[in-house]
């Protein structure tokens, strides 16, 4: 199986949210199929953790040079997925198509993936972490991801990485030509050393990268430390754990001192 890629193109997108509703609905279908929770029951809750593609809308500029911008918030299925690397119980794996998937069974809800993800993607609900699984079940059975499947305007498309990149670059070049503004395919090239390239790329005017909250330097410095901990093995990790506990004791002591000082001041 070739490596898969998904592309969101901001230009033809009509912000109808079919992709987002479709995602949330498809995960309810999975709840029925895999967890025996019928659709008639699951639609009676919002189930935020089952919506893996969500809008982050904000307003930019000042009237009349103003606009709303809807950032698409989702897992990028990073080439160097920090969540996968950090998971202490190896509940996060990569499918052959490149999708980074959390298995809820072994997940212990420790939130390491939440901390490691520079895009703030995984959410922990009732002791389990959730995020976009790239619809790997659909893809491995010859179907498109649900968000792509319901997109009415080809604003989302997917397929083999090479083909998606070819189409994305073609579109970006056309938009650059028609609008006179440089368009880029965010995530096609290495974003940085922390995440590498992305399996979910975005076509966007270069000047709007920040507006759409597409981070050009995603990182979580704390995680680099944990990375060391993990590779240094159990002894090193234990040392760090001890260090952490030591630091906690130190910190608690400091805090107590501070509170006492405050109290004295108040008196």
């Amino acid at each position: 199986m070739s490596v898969n890629m998904k592309c969101y193109d901001t230009t033809p997108c009509i912000r109808c949210f079919a992709c987002m509703v479709g995602c949330s609905a498809e995960n309810r279908l999975r709840l029925q199929r895999d967890e025996r929770i019928g659709m008639e029951k699951s639609v009676q809750s919002k189930l935020g953790h089952q919506s893996h593609l969500t809008p982050k809308r904000r307003e930019l500029g000042v009237f009349p040079d103003a606009r709303q911008v809807t950032a698409f918030h989702h897992c990028n299925h990073c080439e160097k997925a920090p969540c996968l690397d950090i998971c202490p119980v190896n509940a996060i794996t990569r499918r052959t198509g490149g999708e980074v998937v959390i298995s809820q069974d072994p997940c212990i809800g420790c939130s390491s993936c939440v901390d490691a993800c520079p895009f703030d993607v995984p959410v922990v609900t009732d002791g389990k972490a959730y995020k976009c699984h790239g619809c790997y079940d659909r893809i491995e059975n010859g179907l498109k991801p649900s968000c792509v499947n319901v997109c009415p305007t080809d604003a989302m498309f997917s397929g083999a990485k090479e083909e998606v990149l070819k189409e994305a670059n073609k579109r970006a070049a056309l938009y650059t030509q028609t609008t006179g503004k440089e368009h880029v395919v965010y995530g096609a090239d290495k974003v940085n050393n922390y995440v590498g390239t992305l399996h979910w790329v975005t076509i966007i005017p270069k000047e709007d990268l920040e507006a759409y909250q597409l981070d050009t330097a995603p990182s979580r410095p704390a995680m680099q430390f944990r990375e060391v901990a993990k590779s240094a093995g159990v002894v090193g990790a234990a040392a760090i754990a001890v260090g952490s506990v030591g630091h906690l004791i130190y910190w608690l002591g400091k805090r107590k001192e501070k509170i006492m000082q405050e109290e004295q001041k108040n008196v």
């Binding site: 009509i14 609905a25 202490p88 794996t93 059975n141 938009y175 944990r226 952490s244």
Partner: protein, 847 residues
């Protein structure tokens, strides 16, 4: 991204400690799902009714539940929007009405008891039968909207004997749109005849180079198949857009999209300024004007009509020929081969030997429009003059692959008709009709009648009004629900005793809700067929719960708002929930109880024996209206019933049905009507003045300054909201996105709001100063993307001022702003349209 905080260090340490304690387990592979899991899915072809558009879709049924809705890609424009993707939220809405109900409280109170079908049907049938026997069938009105028995329901009520099949379109597309468009392109006799409405034409966004979105937000509004899709494809192909709207919608695009933040109610002024720029700079193709339009028609200075005409035959049709001027003199258009004069005045000899100076039609328009410069338009509309000029220039550069959107749900102001007229005139001058990237004729598959019934001879209420009510000579005789309300209140032309509403929310969806509610109190009986609660259901004596589209078979459908003739059918995916029933069953049960046994046998006997196939066969056998080539490629009836959606070819053409056979940019039919109205002293005549002059909405009359806390209210669709919202309200699949967008708030310009001391989330009371007792309560969102005079709300998202029905809905909060609830029961002059935004509202903060 930031430095390591102490908290992060600690968390890392704790997690690492946990991992260390547990030991590093083997990798736990995610569950592999095989094709066997997907093989259990059953696919059913449906036509989505999450709004009214019937986008061809496929429902997935898994273990007896609808679990997914996706586009049916059998048509080149297969597409569904987010509402469709969330259809399961409406189907499995825990607050759906799933048993017949009989009212026990007062009308409007919303207190009902459960009833059996036989009790409820008997109650309705007893009343209807009695009225029929009294010979008063016309006093029963049938008001359909989301009917579950399409193709048969109207026939049944005609058979019953009433001419009053009362459409909802007078509040949407049915009033100003057909008259404004028909005045230029024909197709309406301009008197009491429904003409080309929203379904007539489509914008060929896919290949357009430049477009003006005005009165319509293609992405956020409805008709995903095909308009939403073609709009997106157009953007993908490099189409440039300017949005002329008091609010900037995201759906038109968020990057590199121009916005002209127009003051509400001033579209007419903007369009006049745009026309002025186009005429002054000659942003038109002279050859096009000569060949397709009546720009060169010589106009009699006194009558405003062509100075001389003669009848000619062209392609077997009688047309009206008119005089034109050329370098060699005056002659009839049909006889002239050379270049006709588009501008200037020419001496024409009349039959009595005298002569008279006659301007060309184009010159007449140029002169009338002279004072409405871009400078003037900018002042009225609060737009920048340069922006109006730029739009005109861009249209010129792109023509004919460009468009001005013709609007939708566009009954908003007294002068809506003039806006429609101007849009059509400008599009016609630019030559966009029938052209690639312009505006083209929709195709349709004309079907045989599922049920053929005798015509009702008696005229319906609207036909009577068109003739005798001087305020409504241009009323649409198919879509007249508010005129029907007037008839209920005045008992003219005759008494209305029963209102039978099928999926039509007349209170929530039309201007003057409180007056409408009063009218409903006067009916002897009110019946609502609906699976969802709304304002109108609260007034019903009997509520009959019909199935949603996913739970019923329907008649074939051959009409979409698509340039491609399309054929498809909605099939039942799952059994109706609870006691709810499919529409044809309901209709047949009523028919059996109301009609004579002979009538019932004649019209419904076969359906009782064979079911829906009897209707499908008749419809399929009668298919016509498509080309021979298309006919040859039609699938069999069985293939259609099995879920195949068929689409014909795209034809770049436009129908022109004017008397002259020309696109009448100078609308002679309107001239005649205008003069006739003037002669009788009709006060509304100026609203159809055929010349490009400013008339304006009610609300801008007298140029009164708005008070500091006074706004012009506007609404727009949220991409996950619809009409009065029954399918999309109370729907948790849609709700989190609606909340993220503050879709239940009213939006006010930030600087303006702050000057009033408002901040985000403040609650305000909103009221119409002319009806101060009806008060809406809504939360405020301050926004930079709203024009200063504007109060914007998403349509059909909130419960509004008349919100007691939301007590039946666990996921629908009370309150919010629906302008229909706050407006007076007014009509637009002549068309009897729905001037829903033609008022001001004031706000006051609730501490």
């Amino acid at each position: 991204m930031g430095k390591t905080t102490r908290r992060e260090f600690l968390k890392g340490g704790v997690a690492t400690a946990a991992g260390t304690a547990l030991g590093i387990p083997n990798t736990a592979e995610a569950k592999t799902v095989t094709s066997a899991d997907f093989a259990l899915e059953k696919k059913v072809s449906v036509l989505c009714r999450m709004c009214a558009q019937k986008c061809p879709a496929v429902a997935t049924v898994l273990e007896g539940r609808v679990a997914r809705l996706e586009p049916n890609m059998g048509t080149p424009y297969g597409a569904v929007c987010g509402r469709a993707a969330g259809a399961m939220g409406a189907l499995y809405d825990p607050d759906r009405i799933t048993t017949p109900l009989i009212r026990t409280g007062r009308r409007g109170e919303g207190i009902f008891r459960k009833a059996t079908w036989s009790e409820a049907l008997d109650m309705v049938a007893y009343k209807l039968k009695k009225i029929r026997e009294e010979g008063d069938a016309k006093s029963v009105a049938y008001l359909p909207r989301f009917s579950a028995a399409g193709g048969v329901d109207k026939g049944f009520f005609h058979l019953y004997g009433t001419p009053n099949i009362v459409g909802y379109g007078d509040t949407c597309f049915g009033s100003s749109l057909p008259v404004g468009y028909g005045a230029v392109m024909g197709g309406t006799k301009l008197s009491a005849v429904s003409g080309p409405g929203t379904s007539a034409v489509s914008t060929d966004h896919e290949f357009a180079k430049y477009g003006v979105l005005i009165q319509r937000n293609v992405g956020g509004a409805l008709v995903c198949h095909p308009w939403g899709k073609t709009f997106g494809l157009g953007k993908k192909n490099g189409m440039e857009i300017v949005v002329v709207d008091p609010r900037k919608p995201s759906e038109a695009g968020e990057s590199l999209v121009d916005w002209a933040p127009i003051k509400p109610g001033t579209d007419e002024a903007f369009l006049l300024g745009l026309l002025n720029e186009i005429l002054t700079n000659k942003y038109y193709d002279e050859k096009h004007l000569r060949s397709k339009t009546n720009a060169d028609m010589l106009i009699h200075p006194d009558t405003g009509l062509p100075v001389k005409t003669q009848a000619i035959m062209k392609k077997g049709k009688e047309l009206e020929d008119y005089l034109i001027a050329t370098a060699s003199g005056i002659g009839f258009k049909s006889e002239e081969q050379g270049e006709t004069k588009l501008l200037g005045a020419y001496s024409v000899s009349l039959d009595d030997g005298s002569s008279i100076q006659c301007k060309t039609a184009l010159q007449t328009m140029v002169d009338a429009n002279k004072k409405y410069t871009a400078t003037w338009a900018a002042e009225v509309s609060t737009l920048e003059e340069a922006q109006i000029k730029k739009i005109a220039k861009k249209l010129n550069d792109a023509k004919p692959a460009c468009f001005i959107e013709r609007g939708y749900r566009s009954e908003r102001y007294a002068n809506s008709l003039r806006e429609k007229l101007l849009i059509t005139q400008i599009n016609a001058i630019l030559g966009v009709y029938g052209k690639k990237g312009g505006v083209i004729q929709n195709g349709k598959v004309k079907l045989g009648k599922a049920i053929k019934v005798p015509k009702v001879k008696e005229p319906n209420i609207a036909k009577w009004m068109a003739k005798y009510d001087e305020n409504k000579p241009l009323i649409n005789v198919k879509f007249y629900r508010r005129a029907w309300v007037e008839a209920v209140l005045t008992q003219k032309p005759y008494k209305q005793r029963v209102g039978f509403f099928w999926g039509q929310n007349i209170i929530g969806g039309s201007t003057g809700s409180t007056e409408i509610a009063k009218a409903l109190q006067r009916l002897e009986m009110m019946v609502c067929v609906s699976p969802h609660w709304n304002e109108t259901v609260m007034y019903a004596d009997v509520v009959l719960p019909d199935a949603t589209f996913m739970e019923r078979d329907e008649c074939l459908n051959g009409k979409w708002k698509s340039p491609l003739a399309t054929l498809g059918v909605n099939r039942k995916a799952v059994e109706p929930l609870g006691e709810s029933k499919d529409g044809y069953w309901i209709l047949n049960e009523l028919a059996r109880r109301i009609l004579t046994p002979e009538e019932h046998e004649e019209y419904f006997g076969e359906y009782e024996k064979r079911g829906m196939i009897t209707f499908w066969e008749k419809q399929y056998a009668g298919i016509h209206g498509i080309t021979a080539k298309e006919q040859a490629s039609l699938p069999s009836l069985q293939e259609v019933l099995d879920g195949r959606v068929w689409a014909g070819e795209k034809h770049y053409k436009i129908k022109c049905k004017t008397k002259t056979g020309k696109w009448e940019i100078y609308p002679t039919a309107l001239v005649k009507k205008y003069r006739a109205l003037k002669d009788t002293g009709n006060k509304g005549a100026e609203y159809i003045n055929p010349l490009p002059l400013f008339v304006g909405p009610f609300v801008l009359k007298g140029n009164k300054e708005l008070a500091n806390n006074e706004f012009l209210p506007i609404t727009g669709f949220h991409p996950l909201g619809t009409f009065t919202g029954q399918q999309t309200k109370n729907n948790l699949l849609l709700k989190s996105i609606l909340e993220e967008h503050h879709a239940d708030h009213v939006f006010i310009n930030r600087a303006k709001g702050e000057s009033l001391g408002l901040k985000d989330g403040d609650k305000v009371e909103i009221f119409n100063p002319r009806l101060p007792k009806i008060v809406s309560v809504a939360k405020v969102k301050l926004s930079e993307t709203v024009q200063q005079n504007t109060l914007f709300a998403y349509y059909g998202v909130t419960a509004g001022a008349l919100d007691n029905y939301s007590a039946h809905l666990r996921n629908q909060e009370r309150g919010g702003f629906n302008p229909n609830h706050l407006t007076e029961f007014l009509f637009s002059p002549l068309t009897a349209g729905n001037p829903v935004q033609d008022c001001t509202v004031k706000i006051r903060r609730i501490s």
